[in-house]
Amino acid sequence: MTTLSLPRMRPPRLLSASAWLQALLGWRVLHTLAVGAGLWWSLTSAALEGPGRIAAVAAASVVLLLDLGAVAGLAMRRSFGRSLSLAADYLTFVGAILVLFQRNDVFRGLDALGATFVRGVPFGVVAILAWVVTGWGEQRGTLTQVRRIARYVAYAAVAGLLLAVGLLPGLATFLARTATPEGLLLLVVAVVSGYLAWRTFQSDVAEQLEVSNQTTRTLDGLLFASPNLLGFAAFFAGPLIFSLFVSLTEWDAFGDAEFIGLANYTQILALNVGIASAGQSASEVLAPGYFEWFSVGNVVVGAQDVLFWRSIRNIVVFTLFALPLSTIPALFLATLLNSKAPGIKVFRAIYFVPSIAGVVAVALIWRQLFDSTIGWLNYLISLTVSGLNNLPGVAITDPRIQWLSDADIALFSLVIVFSWMFIGYNAVLFLAGLQGVDNTLYEAAMLDGANRWQRFRNITLPALRPTTFFVVASTGILTLQLFGENVVLFPTTTPIGAGPQNSTLTPVVYLYEQGFRRFAFGYASAVAWVLFVLIFFFTLVQFRRQREQAEG
């Protein structure tokens, strides 16, 4: 295996541990004042607005609290002072580096890398090959000469890769951008707090404060988990909370967010039922502001946001068809696959391929097959029909189905695409479950004379219950978020992906239309939360059903 060379160059220890603690206290006070000033600035500055201000205030408050606690702890020479101080310095270090990178456009620099990246690919291939050779030699324990050469080749290839993709010009740009007062300040802050965190982390400082093993472990654990935790806060938890707030506002891309309470939700969900007597049109029996969603007999159901309810109807119909179609055949397929016959793995691989091809590719494939004049699907149907018509007494007209332009058919075309894509995947999931079933159960049942169906019904199905729950729940979560297939198959309808006469308008398609075509961010967020609740209840119902069955 690769020997990951650890950093051997350690920063110098400038002070002894006790002197260091004194100095750290002084620094902490300075840091507290600086962060306090930063907090004040982020509260009052006109340069920040909206989510940027909230994020800055939140970050500054957290570090300020850590600082205050650390000052108190260090003054009392308690170990929590060191822990909090470490946290504050670590966060300052990470923050300063990220701000410096962001300011110097390091992250956006990926776009430039996209252009030069291809030049590095040959070097990358060489590096990987050399690395493989190194590992191969290590396993054999011989051929040290070959291994050494391979290692040098790998190093050279990595260096070549970095040079080929433009490391040097990139580095020069970075340095040039850093050489401004602001950039240098950030660099100094990063280096100083990095050194402080490292020095405070050393065991001699810990011994001075008689830090317990458990505290050391906690610090270690949080340090290792910190990339995940910071990423979780920045790209998941923060946005999630922000989304909840946005859904309570009226906000388009150009104006400020205006708090309107639950108004978005009431508009989305509002329904009104009226009874039409003879000769009355639907709009006459509904309350003002409501439009006809559907009517059964003379009962008219109206909604304020008809398009949203249309999308709900579509997605429910879609799920009712796509969910059984992509799970039940998968279960039978899995029972076929659960055999030791030769060549079975080839079939398993073939069934799996549609799910790895990706939504866009799969939808484009099916668009070709669905073509109503030259597509294979209609051609095969025609062949079948004319074949059947040769039989005596049969006269079927060729349906010539308009798969993608008939409003009654389009949603079912999507069902076909989705099911085709996920049957094989689900079959492999079921297969994993089947292989966990205890074989002795079958043997016992066969001795009792149970036939194939009885064995399937009474042994396989109950044993597969957890797998079934997982398959149904995860497939349902996918169907309820249907989006990609629509956009690829109906790229020209308005809203994009809504299909003929909105017949394939799904909640996510509607969300996209509201959020990114009309820029009604508040409204789109509310739609997202309603959909989330729907998905959550779907999963919950599945889970309850599985548990009840397991108990009963």
Binding site: P51, F107, L229, G238, V246, L364, I365, S525, A528
Partner: protein
Amino acid sequence: MAVVTGSKRRRRIERVGLYLGLGAFGAIMLFPFLVVAFGSLKESSDIFRFPPRLLPFSQDTVEIDGEEQGLYVIEGEERVLLETIAVGIYAPPDALEDTVQVPTADVERRGGFVDTETVVIDGEEEPLYDVEVDGEVVAMVERGTTTSGRFAAVDDLDDVVGANVRLAEQVDSVAPQTENFRRVTELQNLDRSLTNTLLVTLLVVGGTVLTSILGGYAFARIEFPGRDALFLVYIGSIMVPFVILIVPLYQLMVALGWVNSLASLVFPFVFNAYGTFLIRQFFVSIPKDLEEAAVIDGASRWTVLWRIFVPLSTPAIATLSTFMFLYAWNSFIWPFIVISAGNFDNHVLTVSLQQLGGRAADSPNLILAGVMIAIAVPVTVFVLAQRYFVENVATSGIK
């Protein structure tokens, strides 16, 4: 003995049934891919042909006077098309079944072009034409048009026969049009999309593996108060559907200035709860005495992680890598939202293909070539790392 042979035969029948079932299903799964694979090699006249053919055909040609001419079969003889003639199908108004075919150039409207005489047929006014039949000029109505062609023998250009061009059978042979792949990359900047996708995918895979190893180690091996609750909250984020994050994450990208940049496709996705979970589960299963020996030798946690845990965890890391590879390579909704349609330099394959599908509807052969490029990489990776793909599915099921 009879019982044994009976069960043997039964088993053989069962096996045939098994393969029939598996094969039928395999055909359903495989056939669309065959259509795409061969379709991507077709020329445009072939892909619009009805009835469709699976293999890519193109018309054979023969060189005549320095020019390539398409070959046809007329009454069993190979011929080339010299010229096409527009032919009208005419019939007398009182005997509509008695049609004759005459080139439209030889026919004139009765009474001239302005004051054409007309006759009413089935309630519709139809113009009358002067058509010469057997030396006699007869007034007729036009029932339709067709295209006739003068076909000459390949070796003797004076040997000419007339035949209907639409019904003439072309001499076709299998000819894959490999330049479709080059043409499609020029059409939509697809070569740049391909390298962008590769870059984004590699970064997402590498980043996720790195953070997952660090996080997985913390959650598996370092005991500290509140760890399990923290883990549960983190894992809970798997249950939250991505759609709920679309709007706020887009706002975050706006605030950071990452809209339209590849950065928006990479950094939000390298912190992955599922990956951390996967690696943690594997680390938990590694026996403790392995690391204790190293710790007694004075190794730090960092060393233990990279020298002991990571080398032992190649299966888990491979599984995670394949999972993230597929996820990043095929992700569509987020790139579709965050990279604007006109920004060709920062497109990824899925977005390019979607746009190609919307724009180049008149050249499905090129779209299919694009599809082939897009699926070639994941399918290759799948063939090479099938074990880990399937393992990945199995572990997600156990969860």
